[in-house]
Point group: C2
Chain length 368, copies 2
């Protein structure tokens, strides 16, 4: 008896303001898994996963790929050094170009699970993805849709989640991505950047949150003084567990659909941001990795891990999109904690550090 996957969900486009400019959002709609989507596993990864001779070194695509490949190497090296265990790698290419490199550290000394994934995708999406385009007259858009076919796109990104063993060590997540559509039926190609780094502790330690946010404020301020306040707020809104009215973690930065200035400038910002993950996160880990902890504190961590799972499987667009459109499941779900816990009507007692955490998750704070 054949089992077939459910139909994927479509997404819509919208506008977003950054400072005084309006960026137009080209949403990636449902992508059907092409017949040539099979992963061809490889031991040695080529210098580039891009289409050879097509996406050459001078392109934004190639420059972004170099940023994320280098970041994967440097971040994994830094994490391994602290943990004592190496990352395991699975890598693959695809017939039509693109591929991926998943690196997972499982059952480590410091981290129960840590992963850093790079992905390069050449795909196509239905024309419904184009709801509006900067500079494209609606008539041209209708004409293009009427001509039929699917819109080719390119997407590249680095994604990571790290779940430590010690409840005093925070979970950390980051993602930096670049998306570009090809010229199609008279509509010029569009592009945008997205990303962010966010922190999910179990307890409020102001010094740690000041360090983390201070690092990212400095990164942002090197590019645009409007960035940090906007991207901190966006982070608090995006990582909201809507049905619980609490955030998943305690902040960070988050941005999407960024294309309001030259691509080279946003590339430089993304590079700066991903290259400060280690500085923002590792000192906090080193500070707490040998802290003692109680069984109750461990169980509280497990409750928060349950929240992490809820957010990722119910709201996180990257996860739900990937699951429903044929992405590599084990890479996508590498973000799941090793273990998690759900208790009926769990509420920490007033005045406890756990209650303090809940207050910060229900009423996001500005740490710097």
């Amino acid at each position: 008896m054949a089992l077939t996957a459910k139909a994927p969900a479509a997404c819509t486009a919208r506008s977003v303001k950054v400072g005084s400019r309006t960026a137009t959002v080209m949403r990636v709609a449902a992508v059907e898994k092409p017949t040539n989507w099979t992963e061809n596993y490889i031991k040695e990864v080529p210098v580039s996963l891009l289409r050879p001779g097509v996406d050459t070194e001078d392109t934004i695509r190639a420059k972004f790929e170099k940023v994320i490949r280098d970041a994967q190497d440097s971040i994994c090296a830094a994490i391994s050094e602290i943990d004592g265990k190496p990352f395991h790698q699975d890598a693959w290419t695809r017939e039509d170009g693109g591929g991926g490199i998943t690196r997972v550290l499982a059952d480590g000394n410091v981290w129960e699970k840590a992963g850093v994934n790079v992905s390069v995708v050449y795909g196509s999406m239905p024309p419904e993805a184009y709801r509006a385009a900067t500079g494209t007259a609606p008539a041209d858009l209708e004409k293009a849709k009427a001509a039929g076919g699917r819109v080719p796109f390119f997407a590249a990104g680095i994604s990571s989640v790290m779940h430590p063993r010690n409840p005093h060590c925070p979970t950390m997540h980051f993602n930096y991505r670049f998306f570009q559509t090809e010229d199609w039926n008279g509509i010029p190609g569009q592009w945008w950047f997205g990303g962010g780094t966010d922190i999910t502790p179990c307890y409020v330690v102001e010094e740690d949150l000041k360090h983390f946010h201070g690092t990212y404020k400095a990164v942002c301020d090197r590019h645009d003084p409007a960035y940090f306040p906007k991207f901190k707020k966006w982070c608090d809104e995006y990582f909201l567990i809507g049905h619980r009215k609490e955030t998943r973690g305690l902040g960070g930065i988050f941005f999407d659909d960024l294309n309001d200035r030259p691509a080279e400038e946003i590339l430089a910002f993304s590079k700066d941001a991903v290259n400060h993950v280690v500085e923002a996160y590792c000192p906090i880990i080193k500070k707490h990795m040998n802290d003692s902890f109680t069984e109750e504190q461990k169980q509280w961590q497990q409750i928060r891990r349950g929240r992490y799972v809820e957010f990722n499987l119910v709201y996180d667009r990257g996860t739900t999109f990937g699951l429903k459109t044929g992405g590599r499941i084990e890479s996508i779900l590498m973000s799941m904690p090793l273990t998690s816990r759900w208790e009926y009507c769990h509420e920490p007692a007033a005045g406890t550090p756990e209650a303090e955490f809940m207050d910060a998750a229900r009423h996001p704070r500005n740490w710097v």
Copy 2:
């Protein structure tokens, strides 16, 4: 800083065949939480949660409520008797009518978590919910929509999930529900029943699966010989973890949008089905509750619990709908296991009982 919940997702209508008849599906679309939705907690639950004097004893609504209230009582009594611990109850009414009774057994001797919930809802939905209606001309439907307003509906149901400690004892879920819209803008009210009972073991024990499915085949055959094969197949298709191409459990029955014969007949079928939960499930529990098990078998159970979470949070319509439209979170997420586990690229070794389970989940079998 105020946090607002994300906008709920809408659903669509479709037709479904049962035997030679076509039932029209009225989908519940997004329901915004009304301002009078607050739960008023109560210690003693009235005999009926229906609107007094409006939904009287002779109505299908009242008869269905009695079926599910009685079933909640009898099933909780049977489970408590085996476990040794009682259920904790939270109950509430709502200003405009309706209410709920959540019963949870936490940290039991046999079950880590077991819950049986009853819910009665008076709500309203946007007219988009009406895509088609048996006997309603499209022009009448357009006219009704143009008149504006929202469509009042009634929904009642019993929902349960039970997660045992022992990996040789299966998890079990059931749900039986009745949905009815009011006459609205010239379109007559519609109604339908839905439900099912399904079993989620960690290992294939044919004798147990024959017992479970044999019990439900007998129930179905008392009402319509077409039911069992159709509802077993529907169960395998509904509880598919699409991104993994494996089922959550190993079968049961599932039906939805059933309205192709007099309501009293389908009510009798639903009553028969919910009243055979204990017979189908408890003998399997008694058989295995004192089985010895290894740490490896416990971890395998935890991996399967992770799959349970994935299905519920990504695909289960009841869960995602409830979370996004203001339902009582703690009641909805009572279905989450106490603990769960995710390991990167976990695959049981060939020839093991775990591999046998995976084969049955990837290629659903007919047990009777």
